[in-house]
């Protein structure tokens, strides 16, 4: 039974990586938010699975916290945000999508190689998934770099937090509860502040294109 659940954790890890790639290749903001919600759900599922196998009760709490925050509250805030900003559809990427995907493969190879020696030091049951967590982290990072608009960048930031949480769960059975609560609040406050920020950017430049921020003076 435990063996099957360990395999299930590996499967969830693969799904998280798949969703990270799906987000990387997605052109529409609305679908991006749905994918982010799904990724959050998968992280919750894998955390519950780890908690069940290892009998670590605090992992149940952090799974519940993640569920409330990343599957309900933050997607709701994002939906409200894009409705009010009226940017439901288009995203422009700075590099074309097949190239992004190819760079993505390179990142995955890099992080798998990076994780192999680290995973040997760990004794946790889900140590193999550390490479996937690092890969998701780098992919979300690349999503932030390659997107020109502000909303996808925020989603990239949030999915990076998902990857970090997953890495913590798989490598060390999660962080102490205080740290986790702190991070959760940070992310929530971050989303609120970035939302206000986006309104300000649009007020100022009439668009959400970040490249306008490079100008220091009015010309």
């Amino acid at each position: 039974m435990d063996n099957l659940i360990t395999q299930l954790i590996n499967l969830f890890a693969a799904v998280i990586l798949m969703l990270a790639f799906a987000m990387l290749s997605q052109r529409r903001i609305l679908t991006l938010i749905h994918l982010f919600t799904l990724q959050g759900l998968t992280v919750v599922a894998s955390t519950v699975a780890v908690a069940y196998v290892t009998h670590q009760h605090h992992l149940y709490y952090s799974a519940a916290l993640t569920l409330a925050l990343k599957c309900f509250l933050i997607p709701y805030l994002l939906h409200r945000l894009i409705n009010r900003l009226n940017v439901r559809w288009d995203i422009e990427t700075l590099i074309n999508i097949p190239t992004i995907m190819l760079i993505g493969i390179v990142l995955v190879v890099f992080s798998f190689n990076l994780a192999l020696p680290i995973a040997k030091l760990s004794a946790s049951i889900a140590r193999g998934t550390l490479g996937i967590a690092i890969a998701c982290f780098l992919l979300s990072f690349m999503m932030m770099i390659t997107r020109a608009k502000a909303v996808p960048q925020v989603i990239g930031f949030l999915s990076m937090e998902n990857a970090l949480f997953f890495a913590a769960t798989s490598a060390t059975y999660g962080m102490p509860m205080v740290v986790e609560l702190g991070i959760a609040l940070d992310v929530l406050v971050g989303v609120l502040i970035l939302g206000v920020f986006m309104f300000q950017i649009r007020e100022q430049f009439d668009s959400l294109d970040i490249s306008h921020l490079e100008k220091l003076k009015e010309d």
Binding site: N10, A14, M18, P98, I105, G128
Partner: protein, 315 residues
């Protein structure tokens, strides 16, 4: 080679030949129902084949022997590939003839002959269709190969029968790498079978058709063979998918009872698969042709990540 091997081989070929048009009819029927139309009936592909076989075959004046040969080559390739895919049983005497890599080669050979025949007449539509078909083909093949390699890595063999034997008759293990391979395989089979996100199999609109443009000049028994080959290809792809990702129910060697049970199991799996295909086709919109490379790049990437995950997570 023994009697039961011969029997299961014969059964596999007959099942492919007879059930392939039925699968096409089933998919079309569901497509019609899902689009609020009353469908043409399950047996429509058989009726069409009979009609085409009776009709006279008209060939263009400028056609070379290649044009007459291509339908037979395509049909032969598809039939051989159906014969080496373990649809009902893994005990197939023909299977040492071609492994998974040769199977991809067989599909490629059929495609090359169809493209050459389309260009042979010299009409504009033929060469347009041939170019588009080759564009899709050269992008889909590496992805398909990588999917098959992922399965081969798990079972340490490129022979399809051994892969299925390994996956179906060992302890149940969840392979994350097969999840990636499964998604990649779905994307590839949409492209290879000229299904909706890539090509509409029912269209005759010049600007969008890919597959129809290839066979525009054929008629009579040649067209019948090609239509049958298309059905066989859909059947072959469905069976590869079922064999790799849902291998339960396929009989082992020396098991006559399991062989009898394998037929309803296969019918059940194909029925569900055909319904899902029709559902996806109804829900998707056709892509612009220049989006197709992106679509197939995604498939290739998924397949490669599947292989990488196999190395990371082990088995």
């Amino acid at each position: 080679m023994n009697l039961s091997g011969l029997l299961s081989q014969f059964l596999a070929i007959m099942a492919a030949l007879l059930l392939a048009p039925l699968l096409t009819g089933w998919v079309n029927q569901w497509r019609a129902w899902l689009q609020n139309r009353s469908g043409p009936g399950l047996l429509q592909p058989y009726r069409m084949l009979r009609k085409l076989f009776i009709k006279e075959s008209v060939v263009a004046e400028s056609a070379s022997p290649l044009f007459r040969m291509a339908p037979y080559v395509a049909f032969g390739c598809m039939l051989l590939s159906c014969a080496i895919i373990p649809t009902l049983s893994t005990d197939l005497p023909l299977s040492p003839a071609a492994d998974a890599i040769a199977l991809v080669g067989l599909f490629a050979m059929a495609r090359v002959f169809m493209a050459l025949a389309a260009m042979d007449i010299g009409t504009a539509f033929g060469s347009l269709g041939a170019r588009r078909e080759m564009l899709i083909g050269f992008l889909a093949e590496p992805a398909l190969l990588s999917v098959l390699f992922t399965a081969s890595l798990i079972s340490q063999s490129t022979a399809l029968t051994e892969i299925v034997e390994n996956l179906a008759h060992r302890d149940f293990v969840l392979y994350p790498s097969l999840a990636f391979a499964g998604i990649a395989f779905c994307l590839v089979s949409f492209a290879e079978n000229a299904r909706v996100p890539v090509d509409n199999p029912t269209t005759h609109l010049e600007l969008t058709m890919i597959h129809e443009a290839l066979i525009l000049e054929y008629s009579g028994r040649h067209l019948a063979l090609i239509e049958w080959a298309i059905s066989l290809k859909l059947f072959a792809y469905s069976c590869i998918g079922l064999a790799l990702f849902f291998p339960w129910g396929i009989a082992e060697a020396q098991a006559p009872v399991a062989l009898i049970l394998a037929i309803p199991a296969m019918l059940f799996k194909l029925a569900i698969g055909g319904f899902l295909l029709a559902l996806i086709e109804t829900l998707c919109a056709k892509m612009r042709i220049f989006r197709v490379p992106e679509f197939l790049a995604t498939a290739f990437l998924m397949a490669v990540i599947g292989m990488l995950t196999h190395f990371l997570l082990g088995s």
